[in-house]
C-alpha cells in the first residue's frame, strides 16, 4: 500500500493541461446543437451593476460575454468557492436554467459539485426576487463551493433577463 501511494504521488502521468471536464467552447457548442453563435458582450450598466453586486457580493466587472440565439443564452462565469475560482457554464432558456456544469474545478474540497447528482438540483430553476425558485441541498464540507454555484446560477438568470431585455429594447427601437 505504501508503495502504491508513493507511486501514485510521484508517478503522476504527464498530464499537462488543467483539470477541465468539458471546455467552455465544448459546453457552448453543445448548448446550440454544435453550432455556437458569435459571442456577444453585455455591458454592466449602473442598474444591472447594483443588482449583480447584490447577487455576487462583489464588483461584477465591466462586461460579461455570452452566447445567445432565440430564447437561449449561455454564460461562462467564475466564482471563488473556498480558496480558488470555480468556472461554471450555465444555459438559460426562456428564463429558466436548462443546464449547469462545472467546467474547471480548482478547490481542495467540494468535488461533489462537479457531478450530476448535485447539479441537477438547479434544472428549471428561475429567479424570484433575485433568489432561486428551487431549493439546493448543500454538501457538508463544501458549503462555500455550493454557495459559489448558487451565486453563479442566480447571476446567469439575472444576466439573461438583461440580455433579453436589451435585445427587445433594440428591436423596438428599430
Amino acid at each position: 500500500m505504501i508503495i502504491g501511494c508513493v507511486l501514485t504521488l510521484v508517478g503522476a502521468p504527464a498530464y499537462a493541461g488543467p483539470e477541465v471536464y468539458q471546455t467552455p467552447n465544448e459546453f457552448i457548442a453543445q448548448a446550440f446543437g454544435g453550432h455556437a453563435p458569435d459571442a456577444q458582450a453585455l455591458w454592466i450598466k449602473p442598474g444591472l451593476r447594483g443588482e449583480l453586486t447584490e447577487v455576487l457580493g462583489h464588483n461584477p466587472g465591466l462586461r460579461v460575454r455570452y452566447w445567445g440565439r432565440g430564447t437561449r443564452t449561455v454564460w461562462v462565469l467564475d466564482e471563488i468557492g473556498k480558496d480558488f475560482p470555480i468556472t461554471a457554464g450555465i444555459v438559460v432558456n426562456d428564463g429558466a436554467i436548462e443546464d449547469i456544469r462545472v467546467l474547471v474545478f480548482r478547490e481542495s474540497r467540494g468535488w461533489e459539485i462537479k457531478y450530476r447528482f448535485f447539479t441537477r438540483q438547479f434544472l428549471n430553476a428561475r429567479l424570484d426576487h433575485r433568489h432561486l425558485t428551487r431549493k439546493i441541498d448543500g454538501i457538508t464540507g463544501a458549503t462555500l463551493s455550493v454557495r459559489a454555484m448558487k451565486r453563479m446560477a442566480r447571476a446567469a438568470l439575472l444576466l439573461h433577463e438583461h440580455s433579453v431585455a436589451s435585445s427587445n429594447t433594440l428591436a423596438q427601437a428599430r
Partner: protein, 419 residues
C-alpha cells in the same frame, strides 16, 4: 428641379407673354440651367464624400469597440492570473463565553475565551497543483511559563501540496487533517451547532487531528469517494493521569516520533443531495511508539451519517478505539467508545436563518472524567452566511459515582465567523 422642366417653364414664359421675351433671352435661361446643374453636381460630390466619411467612421467605431473589448478581456485575465490573484487568504475564529455550574463550588467557573483564531493561506501554482495551509492561535495568548503550563497554543494545522492526477484522483503531501469523523475536516464555526465542539469527536476521534505524510484519493460520478493516507501517528502516554488517553497522544507534527507510522482509509458516499454516509478505519502498529510498555497496536473505527431534508437535519456518529497490550487491557481502557445523535431544524425567520438543535452524547474514554452522558440543547443564529451567534445549555452526568464531582450544567454563548 430638372433642367428640362426649367427649360419648358422658360419656354412657356416666353411664348405666353411675348412682351417678356425682350427681358429674358434663351441664352440667359441656358446659363441659369448650367449654373444650377453645376450646383447639383457639387452637392452630389459632397454627399458622396459624406457617405464615405460615414463609412470610415463606422469602421473606426467597430475597431474601437474591438480594442475596448480586448482591453477589458486583458484586464480581467491579468487580474485572474497575477500572483496575488492566485494566492488566497481566509480564516475562521470563535469567541466563547462559558458559565459552568459544577457539582460543588469547585467546579464553578465563568470564562471568556477566544478559543480559535485561524488563518488559512493557499496558493495555486498551476491549475492542478496547489498549496493549502492553516495556521492557528488557540486561547488568544501563548506565554512561556516556568512550569510549562500554558493554555494557549500556536499550531500549524495544515500545510500540504495537493496535485490533481486526473479528473477523479488527487494526491497530497505534507501536514493534513486525518479523514475521520465529521468535524475533523469541517469545523468552521458556522458549520456546526454548539459553542464547544461535540465531545465524542473531541475526545475519541480526537479532533482536531492532523498528521504528516502522503495521501491520495478518488471521487466518482456515483457519489462514492475514498481517501487513503500513510502518515505519522499518535504517541499515547502509558502512565500518569492521561495514560491511554487518545487526545493526549496527538503529536501535532512537532518533532513527531515516527517509529511507527499509521494508516487511515475512508469511504464516503454523497451521491444523494443532502445525504452523507462515511466509514473510516485508522491503524497504528504501536500506539505509544514504544515497545514493551504494555500498549501495542491500536485501531479506530468510525461511522457517521448526515441527512438533510428541507429544514431538517440529522447527524449520527459512532467511533471506537481498540487498543492492544497487556497494560491497557489491565487498565480496562482497551476499548474507548463514543457516539452521538443530533437532530436540528434550520428556519428562515425574518430574512435570517435560525437553527435549533439538541444533542445526546455517550462517551467511554480513558479517564473517568471522560466517561459520561451529556444532553445539550441550543440554537444558532446566522445574521449573514458566514457569521454565527450561538447559545447552548449542557447537562453532563458521569457514569461512575466517583466521578460525580465532574458533573456540571453549563450555559455557553459564542460568536463565530469564517471568510
Amino acid at each position: 428641379m430638372h433642367a428640362i422642366q426649367l427649360s419648358l417653364i422658360a419656354l412657356g414664359v416666353l411664348t405666353s407673354n411675348p412682351s417678356s421675351a425682350a427681358q429674358v433671352t434663351l441664352q440667359e435661361v441656358w446659363a441659369m440651367l448650367q449654373q444650377q446643374q453645376a450646383q447639383i453636381a457639387a452637392l452630389s460630390e459632397k454627399l458622396e464624400a459624406t457617405e464615405a466619411k460615414l463609412n470610415r467612421t463606422e469602421t473606426q467605431v467597430k475597431i474601437t469597440e474591438e480594442q475596448l473589448g480586448l482591453t477589458v478581456d486583458y484586464l480581467a485575465d491579468a487580474q485572474a492570473s497575477n500572483s496575488v490573484g492566485r494566492t488566497s487568504v481566509g480564516g475562521y475564529g470563535e469567541l466563547h463565553y462559558n458559565a459552568v455550574d459544577g457539582e460543588g463550588d469547585s467546579g464553578d467557573f465563568k470564562e471568556f475565551d477566544f478559543h480559535r483564531f485561524v488563518l488559512s493561506f493557499g496558493h495555486e501554482f498551476t491549475d492542478r497543483i496547489r498549496f493549502i495551509s492553516e495556521f492557528e492561535l488557540e486561547h488568544a495568548l501563548v506565554q512561556d511559563t516556568d512550569d510549562g503550563s500554558n493554555s494557549g497554543e500556536v499550531e500549524l494545522e495544515q500545510a500540504y501540496i495537493e496535485m490533481d492526477l486526473d479528473e477523479n484522483h488527487w494526491s497530497r503531501a505534507g501536514v493534513f487533517l486525518v479523514p475521520v469523523g465529521i468535524l475533523n475536516e469541517t469545523h468552521e464555526p458556522p458549520a456546526f451547532y454548539g459553542v464547544e465542539r461535540n465531545d465524542v469527536e473531541n475526545i475519541i476521534i480526537p479532533s482536531t487531528w492532523w498528521e504528516a505524510g502522503i495521501s491520495g484519493g478518488g471521487h466518482y460520478a456515483s457519489g462514492l469517494s475514498w481517501d487513503f493516507g500513510v502518515h505519522s501517528g499518535l504517541q499515547m502516554p502509558t502512565s500518569g493521569v492521561n495514560a491511554y488517553r487518545v487526545r493526549s497522544g496527538r503529536q501535532k507534527v512537532s518533532a513527531a516520533n515516527a517509529e511507527k507510522l499509521a494508516y487511515t482509509l475512508r469511504l464516503k458516499y454523497t451521491g444523494l443531495p443532502g445525504l452523507e454516509l462515511a466509514a473510516s478505519y485508522h491503524h497504528q502498529s504501536d500506539a505509544s511508539q514504544l515497545r514493551g510498555d504494555g500498549l501495542g497496536s491500536g485501531g479506530l473505527v468510525s461511522f457517521h451519517g448526515i441527512w438533510n431534508q428541507g429544514p431538517f437535519s440529522l447527524r449520527v456518529l459512532w467511533a471506537q478505539w481498540n487498543l492492544n497490550g497487556d497494560a491497557v487491557k489491565l487498565a480496562d481502557v482497551d476499548e474507548q467508545t463514543g457516539w452521538y445523535i443530533e437532530p436540528s431544524i434550520r428556519l428562515d425567520l425574518g430574512g435570517s436563518d435560525w437553527g435549533f438543535y439538541t444533542r445526546y452524547e455517550d462517551l467511554e474514554g480513558a479517564r473517568s472524567r471522560d466517561r459520561f452522558e451529556q444532553w445539550e440543547v441550543g440554537f444558532n443564529f446566522w445574521p449573514a452566511d458566514n457569521i454565527v451567534l450561538k447559545f447552548d445549555y449542557r447537562d453532563r452526568q458521569h457514569d461512575l459515582q466517583g466521578s460525580a464531582g465532574f458533573d456540571f450544567q453549563a450555559i455557553d454563548l459564542g460568536v463565530g465567523y469564517q471568510f
